[in-house]
């Protein structure tokens, strides 16, 4: 075993395989959750037959169906970019998983600049969307891609500013470090140290800003303008079919999982839960927290209408950015004072 | 037949009120020929008086309801011909105006000769006339002078003919009779008036 783990390339291969498996599986689970939860929000039953019970195999059946579909590339499309776009979108989220700690030791690579890397890599997903929109040679796709780009620029800033608050409080950019900082006792009740996640340690506003900006990054309702099926048909996805559509589809749900895991790690204490050994239960705890966030995201999707482009921009620049800056100032002041 | 609610005695005040209203609107519109049968006030105006009549009525009847043409022709390809023997072939253009307080509604009517079916456009007076005039233009071939965009509304580009003219046959029915004709009732303009009278 040790021979295998000591070899850099062998270890890298194992890690990559694990990442792909974890992300793919969770994406399928999130898709299933979306189908089933959405159905129940709407007084429907949802998937029922596939897999024998509760329709658990519905995402797999859908994936198989998509694989059999004809792969259509529009004649006027920029073929190389058109083909590369879904891969870029999907790879971006794979890249983020690398730094998410599932337990103190179960992390692919605990980078010193972990969160910085995650935000940079996560934004690449939008690049894939822009590529798809531009290369499809379709006006609806183009508008969808442009909307995605505008949205990225507007919401990346509050997203980063919200994270900076956490980084200041934790004093590190390493993801494991951030979790460990939340495992430290925040205050003492008698002789018992009470650890608190950052969301309860004055980062509530940061958490809300991060959630909102995250929805925009993921193009989820109420910020699903790049797709906006009632306006832009399917936005940047209009010309995609078959396997490439599946990749975008997976990327969307992989993105939901990855971003939710980020929120859990940054604000909710990640793999840490007081009283439970993190080394054993870490992955379960993180998945539990992530599920709550995913549930919220799905809930928003099936409840709210969509905002308009100018409202989206106005909200980011007039409210979120100033609020995030204020939050940052308060956090920094408190950090210096105490 | 039961007694008509419109010629019953208790309806007399309503009828009088209608007559008054009709006379008043006719006076406003400068029309000397008006009817108010069945609760429908209809004012006939001259072609020159078409726009002035609308302008005069606009303050009282601001709601533009519709505009439509009628093809009065003796020689018809579809349906029944008109009854009047001395009818001169012509187009009639009607517009319906209404108010939005007490519910008065007036139909203005103008006759156009077939060889010179042109009329001043209503669009400056009632903006809503635009689509209606386009429809009347394609359906009857009536020309509305000064219309901003007198192109086909419903019909595809390159469509020939004016479908609502009485001379325009329903081609699909020429090829194959409508299956409904075998039923108890016969259709307008079929040759067998006795077919339906069995009871």
């Amino acid at each position: 075993m040790n021979v295998l783990f000591d070899n850099f390339w062998a270890l890298l291969g194992i890690k990559l395989l694990l990442i792909v498996l974890v992300v793919m599986t969770t994406a399928l689970v999130v898709i299933y959750a979306e189908l089933k939860l959405g159905a129940h929000f709407q007084h429907r039953i949802g998937p029922y037959f596939a897999g024998g019970r509760w329709g658990w195999a519905q995402p797999l059946a859908d994936a198989l169906k998509f694989l059999q579909k004809e792969d259509i590339i529009p004649a006027a499309a920029d073929r190389v970019v058109f083909k590369a776009a879904p891969m870029v979108s999907l790879m971006a989220y794979f890249a983020v998983v690398v730094i998410i700690p599932f337990s103190p030791r179960l992390v692919v690579q605990d980078l010193d600049v972990g969160i910085f890397y995650a935000l940079a890599a996560g934004s690449l997903g939008t690049l894939g969307v822009l590529m798809a929109g531009w290369s499809s040679a379709n006006k609806y796709s183009l508008m969808g891609g442009l909307r995605a780009a505008a949205q990225l620029i507007a919401y990346e800033l509050p997203l980063v500013l919200a994270v900076v608050g956490v980084v200041i409080q934790a004093g590190t950019m390493s993801m494991v470090g951030i979790v460990e900082a939340q495992a430290e006792p925040a205050f003492h009740l008698g002789s018992v140290g009470i650890p608190l996640p950052f969301v309860l340690q004055g980062q509530l506003i940061g958490f809300i800003i991060f959630m909102i900006a995250m929805l925009a990054e993921l193009s989820r309702t109420p910020f699903d303008l790049p797709m906006a099926e009632s306006e832009l048909v399917m936005g940047y996805l209009t010309e995609y079919s078959g396997l490439r559509f599946t990749m975008f589809f997976l990327a969307e749900y992989a993105g939901i999982f990855v971003m939710s895991a980020l929120v859990s790690t940054l604000f909710l204490g990640g793999y840490f839960l007081p009283g439970l050994p993190s080394n054993v239960f870490g992955p379960v705890i993180l998945m539990g927290k992530t599920s709550v966030i995913i549930f919220l995201i799905i809930w928003f999707r099936w409840t709210w209408p969509r905002v308009r482009e100018d409202q989206l921009q106005g909200f980011a620049w007039r409210w979120l950015v100033p609020l995030a800056l204020a939050n940052l100032a308060v956090t920094a002041t408190l950090k210096v004072v105490f | 037949m039961t007694e008509s609610p419109f010629d019953a005695a208790q309806e007399a005040p309503a009828r009088e009120a209608l007559a008054d209203a009709a006379a008043r609107f006719a006076d406003l519109a400068g029309s000397s020929d008006f009817t108010f049968e069945h609760g429908t006030i209809k004012l006939r105006v001259e072609r020159d008086g078409w726009i002035p009549a609308h302008e005069a009525l606009r303050t009282e009847l601001p709601f533009f309801s519709w505009l439509a043409g009628v093809d009065w022709a003796r020689d018809v390809a579809v349906g029944d011909p008109p009854v009047a023997e001395d009818l001169e072939d012509h187009y009639e253009v009607m517009s319906c105006l209404a108010d939005v307080t007490v519910g008065a509604s007036v139909i203005l009517s103008v006759d156009l000769p077939k060889d010179d079916a042109t009329l001043e456009t209503l669009t400056p007076v009632y903006g809503g006339a635009e689509w209606h005039e386009r429809e009347a233009h394609e359906m009857f071939g009536i020309d509305f002078r000064g219309h901003p965009n007198l192109v086909k509304l419903y019909l595809p580009d390159g469509f020939e003919g004016h479908p609502l003219r009485k001379s325009f046959p329903l081609l699909s029915r020429e090829v194959k009779p409508w299956p409904g004709t075998v039923d108890v009732e016969d259709m307008p303009s079929t040759e067998n008036p006795e077919a339906g009278d069995r009871s």
Partner: protein, 396 residues
């Protein structure tokens, strides 16, 4: 870049760089587009997200009813007209049948009129329930659709129970309504003219309808995003509405207090107590609220009509072959979408010499070109949806 003052006003909100002169893009929305409700086509000149001008193209669904009516008998035309606006089929028949009756000098017996009125209000309810649920869909909210359509199904079931048809009842006869199947002679008073249990089921359904209206109030009307997307968007001023013949809830949203049900007597509405909701601003939000309130008012009317339902025959005496004496008449009715009217010109035959069909959606949509100049692309959809049109009603 030339633009009218309205467009410039919009520009103040989101300043598009005016110095950057870029050629406008022609965006073709429809005839196959998810939000054009069928086959409407909008040719829009857009500058980024900004719409410079829109040219609506209609006629993809033109079925030539006015020509068809000239080769049909009067009883056959009732079957044609309820296909014009298929979301409220029953309401379409009323004005035509009443027009034919008035030309013949007959009147439907009270019970038939009451049944007509109940079913007309149900058609209005069904239409408005589709609207209040599908309009959020245009703004991106999918769930209300399922809630409201569930209740609409109840209403359609009731209509089906009486008439046998959900969308195209074809239930009105000249001189009354169709007797129940197997009911025998139309002149007899029939015990089975309404299906068994109809009244109780209707009362129950009306309770549910009130409930769904409250649910929509909570779910949609109070939503900040919904309000942000609709308030102040697509404002039609009253004078513009009148000049373009915009009618029904769209007109009332502009603040004009006018309902044909209150001034005409095509159905005995004067017997019932109901309010006409009137808006203030004429924007998308007001248009939405008009319909939501009208559902409640329709339920009120139906409950009152059930209490006062007279007994008696369903049909006036009419000749076996219906021939209408010479004459012409214009009868209009307050349809769910606005003023629906029929101008019948009879030359004494079995069918009309000319039948002009005035449909609400046609006039409501004709204001579109004026209304859409200078808005944003998402607003096209928001405004389009709020006008509540059906392409069958536009193209006839």
């Amino acid at each position: 870049m030339t633009m009218d003052p309205r467009a410039a006003m919009h520009h103040s909100e989101v300043a598009v760089s005016v110095e950057l002169q870029t050629p406008d893009m022609t965006l073709n929305l429809g005839p196959q587009h998810p939000s054009t409700h069928g086959v409407l086509r909008l040719v829009a000149q857009v500058d980024g997200e900004r719409v410079e001008s829109v040219e609506p193209v209609v006629g993809y669904m033109h079925r030539g009813y006015e020509k068809l009516a000239e080769v049909r008998t009067y009883p056959q035309i009732t079957a044609l007209v309820n296909r014009i606006d298929w979301t409220s089929g029953f309401a379409n028949e009323i004005a035509f049948v009443v027009g034919a009756e008035r030309l013949m000098g007959i009147e439907a017996p009270p019970r038939a009129q009451w049944i007509r009125l109940i079913l007309t209000e149900m058609a209005r309810m069904a239409n408005h329930l589709v609207f209040v649920s599908s309009y959020p869909l245009e703004l991106g909210a999918t769930t209300p659709m399922f809630y409201a359509l569930h209740e609409r199904e109840r209403v359609l079931d009731l209509i089906e129970g009486v008439t046998g048809g959900r969308f195209h009842p074809n239930f009105n006869r000249i001189g009354g309504v169709k007797p129940a199947a197997g009911g025998g002679s139309s002149q007899k008073k029939l015990a089975q003219d309404l299906p068994k249990g109809f009244i109780d089921e209707t009362r129950f359904a009306m309770e549910k309808v009130f409930e769904i209206c409250d649910t929509m109030d909570k779910l949609i009307v109070g939503n900040e995003i919904f309000r942000g997307r609709t308030i102040g968007v697509g404002v039609i001023p009253p004078d513009q509405a009148l000049a373009y013949g915009v009618s029904g809830p769209n007109m009332r949203a502009t603040g004009i207090d006018f309902d044909i049900r209150k001034v005409d007597d095509y159905l005995p509405y004067s017997e019932f107590d109901f309010d006409v909701p009137v808006g203030e601003n004429g924007d998308c939000f007001d248009r939405y609220m008009m319909r939501l309130h009208e559902i409640r008012q329709s339920a009120r009317i139906i409950l009152q009509a059930l209490d006062t339902l007279p007994s008696g025959p369903l049909q006036a005496k009419v000749p076996r072959i219906i021939k209408i004496p010479r004459g012409e008449i214009y009868v209009r009715s307050e349809n769910p979408k606005g003023e629906m009217g029929y101008h019948i010109i009879s030359e004494g035959g079995r069918g009309p010499y000319r039948l002009k069909v005035r449909t609400a959606s046609f006039s409501n949509l004709s204001v579109l070109q004026w209304l859409l100049a200078g808005v944003l692309i998402p607003d096209i959809i928001a405004i389009l949806g709020s006008l509540d049109f059906v392409l069958g009603d536009v193209d006839r």
